[in-house]
Amino acid sequence: MKKKRNVLPYAMLIPGSVLMIALVFYPIIVTFYYSLQHMKLTAPQDNRFVGLQNYQKILSDSSFWYSLQNSMVILVVVVVLTAVVGLAIALLLNVDSKLNGVLTAIAIIPWALPPIVNGVMWRWIFHPSFGFLNRLLLRLDLVEQPVQWLNSRWSIMLIASLVVAWRNIPFCAVVTLSSLQAIPRQIYESAVIDGSGTWQTFKHITLPLLVPSFGIVLTSTSINAINVFDEIVSLSGYGDMSKNLMIDAYLRTFSFLDYGVGSALTYIIMILAGILGLIYIRNVYREVSYL
C-alpha cells in the first residue's frame, strides 16, 4: 500500500513530462548548442563551433538594436494601454447594470480571437484608401489627403501596440474585475464613515488592493508583448522597417537560413522573456490579504 502511494504520482506525471522534455526542453538545449555554432544552411559544409561569436555578432549589429528598440516601444505602450484601458473597463463592468452579461461577453471577444486575424482586421481600420479611420477623417474634413498610417516606423509600432493591447485588455479587465469584487464591502463602508470621498477611497483603498493581481496581469502582458509576432506580420509583413526581435529572429533563421545567429538571437529574446517570467512567478506566489 505504502509503496503504491509513492509510485502513482510519478507514473501520472510521465506522459506530460515526456512530451515537455521531448518537444520543449530538449529542443531548447539544442537551440543553445546551435547558437554556439557557425551554422548556415547556405553553406552546410562549413558548420563549426564558434563559442559566443554569434552573440557578439548580434550585439555589435545595429539591426539588433533597431529591433530591440521596436520591441521595447511595443512593450511599454502595450503595458500602459492594457493597464489603463483594462482598469477602466473593469470599473465599467463593476457598475450594477442589466447589460453586464452582454458587456462581459463583448469584453472577452478580442481575447479569444486569432492574433494573426486581429492584425488583418485592424489593417483595414488604418488602410490609406479603404480604411475606416481615413474615411472618417475625410468625412469630418479633419484631413484633406488620406493619411499613410502604416508607412512610418513609429506609427506602425504604435498601431501594432494598439492591436496587441486590444487582445490583452480583456484579460486585464476580467482579472481586475474579479479582484474588485473580492474586496469586502465593509472596507468601503468604514471608509465612508471615516469621511473618505469617492476619489480618496479609490486611491487609498481600491488601487492598493488591486496591486497584486495587477502585478500578475502586467507581467504576463509584458511576456506577450516581448513575444509579439503575428500582429506585426499581418499589419506590415516581414519588412525591415517594422521588425521587432521576434521578426528579426525569424528572418535570420528562415529567410537568411543562418541557424547559428538566429538561435543566438532567440536565446537573447528568451533571456528577456525569462526575466519577466521570474517576476511573474514571484507575483503569482504573493498572497493577497485584506487585513
Binding site: P15, Y34, I106, I108, M121, F132, F171, M270
Partner: protein, 283 residues
C-alpha cells in the same frame, strides 16, 4: 454600489459604454462591412461607410465555390477543426494526469515542477522551433496533423495544468480521506470523487485548449508548410499576402475564421472567466 445614480453619472456611463463597445467590436464590424462590399464599390474610392449594394458573394465563394480559393479555405477550416478535436482528446487527459498529483499528492519536487511549469509560459515558440523543424523533417512528421497537435499540446499544457492545480488546491482533503476509508483506491478517488466535482475548471481548460489550438500561427507556419495540414488562421493570413488581391474576400475569410472562437467566447463566457481568473491567481 448602492448609492443613487445621478443623471451626470448616467451620461458618463453611457458614453463610456459606447466607447468600450466601439473599441471592442469596431474592427470586427468594419471588416464585416468590407466583406459585403462589392469589389466595384470598394475601388470607387468613395468615403461611404456602407455599401449601396451589399453582397454575400464573398462568403458563398469561400463556402461553396470549387475554385482554388474556396478549396484552400475549406481545407484550412477542416484542418483547424480536426486539430482542435485532437488537441482536446489528447491534451485534456495529459493535463489532468499531470495536474492531479501536483495538487493532491505530497512528494519530492512538487514545488520545483510547479515553478518550471510557470516558467515555460514565458518561452517563445522560436526557442524550440528550429530543432523541432529538423526533428520533424527526420521523422517525416512535417504536415502530419498528429505531430502538429503534439507541439500544440506543449504550448498550452503549462497554462491548463496551472489552472487545474489552482482549482484542485481549493478542494478539501476530507473528500479523499473519506473515500480511502471506504476502500477506494487513489486512482478511483480521482476518477470518481475529484474529477466529477471539477467539471467547471476542466471545461474552462477545454475551452482554452480549443481557443489556443484555433489561434495557432507560428507553429504551423513552420511545421505545416503545405495545405494538407495548414490551419485556418494561416490560410486567412495568406489571403492577405499571396492568395488573392480581392479585399472583400480577404475580409470574408477573416470573419469566417473568427466565428468559432467568438461563439465560444459568447456562449461560455462564465466558464472562460473562471479560467482566465483562475490562471492568474494562486487559487
Amino acid at each position: 454600489m448602492s448609492r443613487k445614480k445621478s443623471p451626470a453619472f448616467r451620461v458618463v456611463y453611457t458614453l463610456a459604454i459606447i466607447c468600450f463597445v466601439a473599441f471592442s467590436l469596431g474592427p470586427i464590424l468594419w471588416s464585416f462591412i468590407m466583406s459585403i462590399t462589392p469589389q466595384s464599390e470598394m475601388l470607387a474610392n468613395s468615403t461611404n461607410f456602407f455599401p449601396k449594394n451589399p453582397t454575400f458573394q464573398n462568403y458563398i465563394k469561400l463556402i461553396a465555390d470549387s475554385d482554388q480559393q474556396g478549396l484552400l479555405f475549406r481545407k484550412g477550416l477542416v484542418n483547424s477543426i480536426k486539430a482542435a478535436f485532437l488537441s482536446l482528446l489528447l491534451g485534456i487527459p495529459f493535463a489532468v494526469s499531470f495536474a492531479y498529483p501536483l495538487a493532491r499528492i505530497k512528494f519530492k519536487g512538487v514545488k520545483l515542477i510547479r515553478d518550471i511549469l510557470l516558467f515555460t509560459m514565458a518561452i517563445p515558440v522560436f526557442a524550440t522551433i528550429i530543432p523541432l523543424y529538423r526533428l520533424f523533417v527526420s521523422l517525416q512528421l512535417l504536415d502530419n496533423l498528429f505531430g502538429l497537435v503534439l507541439v500544440y499540446i506543449t504550448s498550452f499544457l503549462p497554462l491548463t495544468v496551472w489552472l487545474l492545480i489552482s482549482y484542485f488546491d481549493t478542494l478539501p482533503r476530507e473528500l479523499e480521506e473519506a473515500a480511502y476509508v471506504d476502500g477506494c483506491s487513489r486512482f478511483g478517488t480521482m476518477v470518481r470523487i475529484i474529477l466529477p466535482i471539477s467539471y467547471p475548471i476542466i471545461f474552462a481548460a477545454s475551452l482554452i485548449v480549443f481557443l489556443t489550438t484555433w489561434n495557432q500561427f507560428q507553429i504551423p507556419l513552420i511545421l505545416a508548410p503545405s495545405h494538407a495540414t495548414k490551419p485556418i488562421a494561416v490560410v486567412a493570413s495568406e489571403f492577405v499576402t499571396k492568395i488573392t488581391v480581392d479585399y472583400g474576400l480577404m475580409n470574408a475569410g477573416g470573419i469566417l475564421a473568427l466565428i468559432p472562437p467568438s461563439i465560444v467566447a459568447i456562449v461560455f463566457r462564465k466558464f472562460l472567466i473562471t479560467g482566465i481568473v483562475g490562471g492568474a491567481t494562486k487559487g
